[in-house]
C-alpha cells in the first residue's frame, strides 16, 4: 500500500459525508469539523505502526464504501430472530440508520424514572446539557483515524441516559444489523450512567446475510460515582465483513464497569477498548473471547488506565483460533504515579486448534507507582494432555474429550453473561464451532 492511495482512501470516504445534514448546534458542528480535520491530518495505519503491527488492514482500503442514508423498510418478521427479549427496550440500527419501526424506546418523561433510551439525533437538540460534556469527549480521535472518521460522520446513534440512583431492570439491547453489501456504517453509542445508577447493555452486531461491508463503530460510556454498568458486546458480523470498533469508558469514584466482549465474525476485525479509572476506588472487569476460523483476523487492543488510587481491574481474555485464522491481543495496563494501592490482574490465554492458526499476544504493563499489586500472565498452547487422559479414563473417546475441553475453554467467558437467552445462543455457537468429528 502506498501513501497516496491511503490518503486518497480517507478523502474518498469523507466525500460521502457531504450529504450529512448540518446540525443547528454549534458545538455539534464544531466537533464534527474537528474530527474531519483530524482525519485529514492522519494516515491509514500500516503494519509499520506499532499499534497495528500485526493487523494489516490494507484489504479494507481497497474498498471505498459509502454510508447508506435511506431509512430501511425492513420488517420485524425478518429480524425477529435476533431479538433477545420481546419486552426489553431495544434500539435497532439497519446499516447504521435508526429503524424506529423495529425499536422500542423509552423517552423521558414517558416513564416515572426518567430513563432515556432513544436514538441520538432525536435527543441531541433537546438534551444539550446532558450530551455536550460527554459526546466526543471520551473517545479520543486526535490520534485515532478510525474514531476521527466515525466522529466526522456523527449524526445518529444509540443514546442511553440512566438518571441518578435508578436501576434499569431489563437489559437494553442495541442491535446493529447489516443488510447491504458494499456499504459503510458509522454507528455511535453513548451511555451516561449517572451517580448510583445501574444498567446492562448489549451491543450486538449481526448480519442479515453474508457479504462484504465495513462497520466503524464508536461507543462512549461514562460512569458517575457509584454507577454500575454491565456491557456485553457481541460481534457476529458476516465472515467477509470489516469491523473496526472503539469503546472508551470513563469511571468515576467507586463506579463499576463490567465488560464481556465476544468476537465471532468479520474477515478483519479490530476492537479498541479503553477504560480509564479516573475516580478513587473504581473497579472494572474486562473479559473477552475470540473464536475465529478460516482466514479471519481478530485483533483486540485494550488499555486499562489506573489514574486514581485504590482501583481494581480484572481482565481475562481468551482466543480459540482454528483454520488459518490469526488472533491478536494487546492488553495494556497503565498505573499512574498517583494510583497507589492499585490491584490489577490480567490473563491472556490462547488455544490453537490448527497447525496454520497463529496468535500474537502482548500483555503489557506500565507502572509508575510503587505500592501496587499488578500481575499478568499469558499462555499459548494446546489442550492439556493430562486433562484429556483424565476424561478418557472416565470412558470418553479422545475426540469427545477434546471437544469437551475446547468448549469449556470458551464457555468460561460466555458463562459470565447474565442474560440467559443470549448466553444460550452463544453457548450453541461455541459448541458448533469447536466440535470435531
Amino acid at each position: 500500500m502506498n501513501v497516496a492511495t491511503a490518503s486518497g482512501y480517507l478523502e474518498s470516504l469523507l466525500h460521502g459525508r457531504l450529504q450529512l445534514p448540518a446540525s443547528q448546534l454549534a458545538w455539534f458542528n464544531r466537533l464534527r469539523a474537528d474530527a474531519v480535520e483530524r482525519v485529514g491530518a492522519q494516515r491509514v495505519p500500516t503494519t509499520r505502526n506499532e499499534e497495528w503491527r500485526f493487523t494489516d488492514i490494507s484489504p479494507l482500503i481497497k474498498l471505498p464504501f459509502q454510508p447508506v442514508y435511506a431509512a430501511s423498510n425492513l420488517q420485524a418478521a425478518e429480524v425477529e430472530h435476533f431479538y433477545l427479549d420481546p419486552a426489553a427496550p431495544r434500539l435497532v440500527f439497519v446499516d447504521g440508520v435508526y429503524a424506529p419501526q423495529l425499536s422500542t424506546q423509552l423517552l423521558s418523561p414517558a416513564t416515572d424514572s426518567n430513563i432515556m433510551i432513544t436514538n441520538l439525533s432525536a435527543a441531541v437538540s433537546a438534551h444539550v446539557m446532558a450530551l455536550e460534556p460527554h459526546l466526543g469527549r471520551h473517545a479520543e480521535f486526535h490520534n485515532n483515524v478510525f474514531t476521527a472518521l466515525n466522529t466526522s460522520f456523527l449524526h445518529d446513534g444509540a443514546l442511553i441516559i440512566v438518571p441518578r440512583n435508578v436501576s434499569v431492570d431489563m437489559p437494553v439491547h442495541l442491535l446493529f444489523i447489516a443488510t447491504q453489501k458494499e456499504a459503510a456504517s458509522y454507528p455511535r453509542c453513548l451511555l451516561i450512567a449517572e451517580s448510583g445508577s445501574a444498567v446492562t447493555v448489549i451491543e450486538d452486531h449481526v448480519a442479515l446475510q453474508e457479504g462484504v461491508y465495513a462497520t466503524n463503530v464508536v461507543a462512549e460510556i461514562a460512569l458517575a460515582d457509584n454507577a454500575r454498568v454491565n456491557h456485553i458486546r457481541v460481534q457476529r458480523d458476516s465472515s467477509q465483513a470489516f469491523h473496526i470498533a472503539s469503546c472508551a469508558v470513563s469511571l468515576a469514584q467507586a463506579s463499576c464497569y463490567r465488560s464481556t466482549s465476544i468476537t465471532l465474525g468479520a474477515r478483519i476485525s479490530r476492537y479498541n477498548l479503553s477504560v480509564r479509572l479516573t475516580g478513587e476506588g473504581a473497579e472494572c472487569t474486562v473479559d473477552g473471547l475470540t473464536l475465529i476460523a478460516e482466514r479471519q483476523l481478530a485483533d483486540t487492543h485494550t488499555c486499562i488506565d489506573h489514574v486514581k488510587p485504590y482501583g481494581i481491574s480484572r481482565q481475562s481474555h481468551k482466543c480459540i483460533v482454528d483454520g488459518a485464522a490469526h488472533a491478536v491481543f494487546n492488553g495494556k495496563i497503565i498505573v499512574h504515579p498517583d494510583a497507589q494501592h492499585t490491584d490489577s490482574t490480567q490473563s491472556s490465554r490462547n488455544l490453537l486448534l490448527s497447525g496454520r492458526a497463529h496468535i500474537d499476544t502482548k500483555p503489557q504493563l506500565e507502572i509508575f507507582a510503587d505500592d501496587v499489586k499488578c500481575a499478568h500472565g499469558a499462555t499459548v498452547g494446546q489442550l492439556d494432555s493430562e486433562e484429556i487422559f483424565y476424561l478418557m479414563s472416565r470412558g470418553l473417546s479422545e475426540m469427545t474429550a477434546r471437544n469437551l475441553l475446547t468448549y469449556a475453554f470458551g464457555a468460561e467467558i460466555i458463562e459470565r453473561i447474565p442474560i440467559a437467552s443470549l448466553k444460550h445462543q452463544l453457548e450453541q455457537t461455541v459448541l458448533e464451532r469447536t466440535q470435531r468429528n
Binding site: 500483555p363 504493563l365 507502572i367 501496587v372
Partner: protein
C-alpha cells in the same frame, strides 16, 4: 521512602577516574575516510574493509530506532572519535612490561590481572580502549586448541574463521547500531572452541572505556564447534565523565551440534550523577545462534550501570532440541533508563527457552522489560517459559513490561508471567523484629528477589554482583 533506602541509592560511583595514558586518537567524525583510516591503522585485509564500507553504506540509509522506551538527546555521530588506541611503546614480553599506569587502573577496579588470572584460573584478555594490550593464559588454552584473543589479531592469524562467521548471526544491516558497529568496530574478543573441547577455565574480558568522547565499538565473536563448551565472562566498568559516551557493541555466538555457550555479563558503567548528567549510552546487539542439534546458549546479565541501556541478548534456536536461556537482573537508579530483555526465536523442533528477568527501579529511573518469544511454523513441540518480575523502590520510578508472544505452531506451549512488587514496611518490620537492620534487610530481600539469576552466574561473578547491587541500592529502601 526511608532515609536508609535513600542512602543506598545515592552511593557515588566508585570507579570514577581517568587513566592518563597517551592515546592515539582519530579525528572526530564519520565518513568513508574514517573507516579506511581504522582499517589501515589495523592493517586489515581487503575483505574486512569491504565489510565495513558495506555496513557504512547500509547505516547511511537507516534511521535511529525510536521505539525503545528511553529518552536521550540526539547523538551527533560526527562529534565522536571512532578510533583511539594506547600508543604502542614497545613489544611486550611479559606482564611486567605492561604499562604500570594501566595496571594501576585495574588495581583500582579491584581486578589485579595476574593475581586474578593465576589464583582464580581465569584468562583475562584485557581490552583497554580498543586495542588488546596483554593476553594471558593463551598458551594454556592453545594446548587444547582453543583460540582466544583479540579479534583484530584473529583477523590476521585466523582470517578464514573470522571471515566465515563474522556478521552471520548479526547481519551488517540488522539494526542501526549494529550497522554502525560493523562499519567502525575497533577491537573485541574472538574465541574458537574446537570440536569436542570443553574449555578448561572460564574465559574473561575486561572492557574499559577510557579516552573521553571516544565511542567504543567492540565486536565479540565466539564459536563453539560440535560438542564444545565454554563459559565466557564479560565485566565492564568505566571512568567518570560528564559527556555522554556511546557504546555500541555487537556480540555474536555460534553453537554447533551439542555445543554449549554460556555468556555472563556484569555491567557497571558510569550511569551519570544523581541529576542524570553524563553517563554511558549502552546500545548493544547480542545474539546467539544455536545452530546445531542439542546446542545450548545461555545469557546471564547483571545490568547496574549506564545512563541508558538498550540491550536484548537473543537466541535463535535453529537446531532441533536446542535450548536458549536468558537470566537477567537490571537495576536502575537516579535518572537511569533501561530497556532490556531478550528474543527467543524458535525454529527447530522441540526447542526450549527459559526467560527469567528481574527489574529493580529506584529514584527517578525507568526500567523496561521488552521481550519477544516467537514460535515459527517449523518449531513443533517448542516450549517457552518466561517470568519477569519488577520491584519498585520509591514512587518516582517506573517499571514497564512489553512481552511480545508470537506463536505460529499449535503444538507449542508458551507461558508468560509477570508481577510487580515493592519492599513493604511489613517485611522490614519483620526483619527488625528479628534484630536485622533496614540496610541488611533490604540487601537480603533484593538478593532473594534476584536469587534465580545470581545462581546462574559463575561463583566470582555472583559475589561481585551481590556486592554491586548492595551498593547500587544503598540507602534507597526504608
Amino acid at each position: 521512602m526511608s532515609a536508609v533506602l535513600q542512602n543506598l541509592v545515592n552511593q557515588p560511583y566508585k570507579h570514577g577516574f581517568v587513566t592518563e595514558i597517551e592515546s592515539d586518537v582519530a579525528p572526530k567524525g564519520l565518513n568513508e575516510g574514517t573507516i579506511r583510516l581504522i582499517s589501515a591503522k589495523k592493517n586489515e585485509p581487503e575483505w574486512l574493509l569491504e565489510f565495513r564500507l558495506k555496513a557504512y553504506q547500509k547505516w547511511l540509509t537507516m534511521e535511529e530506532p525510536q521505539w525503545p522506551n528511553v529518552k536521550y538527546p540526539k547523538i551527533d555521530f560526527q562529534a565522536i572519535s571512532y578510533y583511539s588506541a594506547p600508543k604502542p611503546r614497545k613489544k611486550l614480553g611479559s606482564m611486567d612490561e605492561v604499562d604500570p599506569e594501566l595496571l594501576r587502573t585495574f588495581e583500582k577496579l579491584g581486578v589485579p590481572m595476574h593475581e586474578r588470572a593465576v589464583l582464580a584460573g581465569v584468562a583475562v584478555d584485557v581490552i583497554f580502549d580498543s586495542v588488546s594490550v596483554a593476553t594471558t593464559y593463551k598458551q594454556k588454552l592453545a594446548e587444547v586448541g582453543i583460540i582466544f584473543g583479540s579479534i583484530s589479531e584473529a583477523v590476521h592469524t585466523h582470517p578464514d574463521l573470522v571471515r566465515q562467521y563474522l556478521g552471520t548471526v548479526v547481519p551488517i544491516g540488522d539494526n542501526y547500531y549494529a550497522a554502525l558497529n560493523s562499519a567502525v568496530f575497533t577491537d573485541g574478543s574472538f574465541c574458537f572452541i574446537p570440536k569436542g573441547v570443553k574449555c578448561p577455565m572460564d574465559l574473561s574480558t575486561y572492557f574499559r572505556i577510557n579516552t573521553q568522547e571516544s565511542g567504543q565499538f567492540e565486536r565479540t565473536l565466539i564459536i563453539a564447534e560440535e560438542g564444545a563448551s565454554v563459559s565466557y565472562l564479560e565485566g565492564c566498568t568505566a571512568p567518570r565523565f560528564d559527556t555522554n559516551q556511546l557504546h555500541a557493541a555487537v556480540v555474536e555466538l555460534i553453537a554447533h551440534d551439542n555445543a554449549d555457550i554460556k555468556y555472563s555479563t556484569v555491567q557497571n558503567w558510569y550511569a551519570g550523577d544523581e541529576n542524570g548528567v553524563g553517563g554511558i549510552f549502552n546500545f548493544v546487539t547480542k545474539r546467539g545462534l544455536a545452530k546445531g542439534v542439542n546446542s545450548r546458549i545461555s545469557w546471564t546479565q547483571v545490568e547496574t550501570g549506564s545512563a541508558i541501556t538498550w540491550k536484548y541478548p537473543s537466541c535463535v534456536l535453529q537446531g532441533d532440541n536446542s535450548v536458549g536461556e536468558f537470566y537477567s537482573v537490571a537495576v536502575t537508579n537516579n535518572y537511569q533508563q533501561a530497556d532490556t530483555g531478550t528474543k527467543m526465536i524458535h525454529l527447530g523442533k522441540n526447542t526450549r527457552s527459559t526467560i527469567v528477568s528481574k527489574g529493580i527501579s529506584a529514584g527517578h529511573s525507568n526500567n523496561s522489560y521488552r521481550g519477544l518469544v516467537r514460535i515459527g511454523p517449523t518449531a513443533t513441540g517448542a516450549r517457552n517459559y518466561s517470568q519477569c518480575d519488577s520491584m519498585l523502590i520509591g514512587d518516582q520510578c517506573s517499571a514497564s513490561t512489553f512481552p511480545y508472544i508470537q506463536v505460529r505452531n499449535n503444538s507449542a506451549i508458551v507461558e508468560h508471567e509477570a508481577s510487580t512488587s515493592k519492599i513493604g514496611e511489613d517485611q522490614l518490620f519483620y526483619f527488625a523484629q528479628r534484630g536485622i537492620g533496614n540496610e541488611e534487610a533490604v540487601s537480603m530481600i533484593i538478593n532473594g528477589f534476584c536469587k534465580d539469576v545470581f545462581q546462574q552466574l559463575p561463583m566470582e561473578f555472583a559475589v561481585e554482583a551481590t556486592k554491586l547491587l548492595g551498593f547500587k541500592l544503598e540507602g534507597s529502601v526504608g
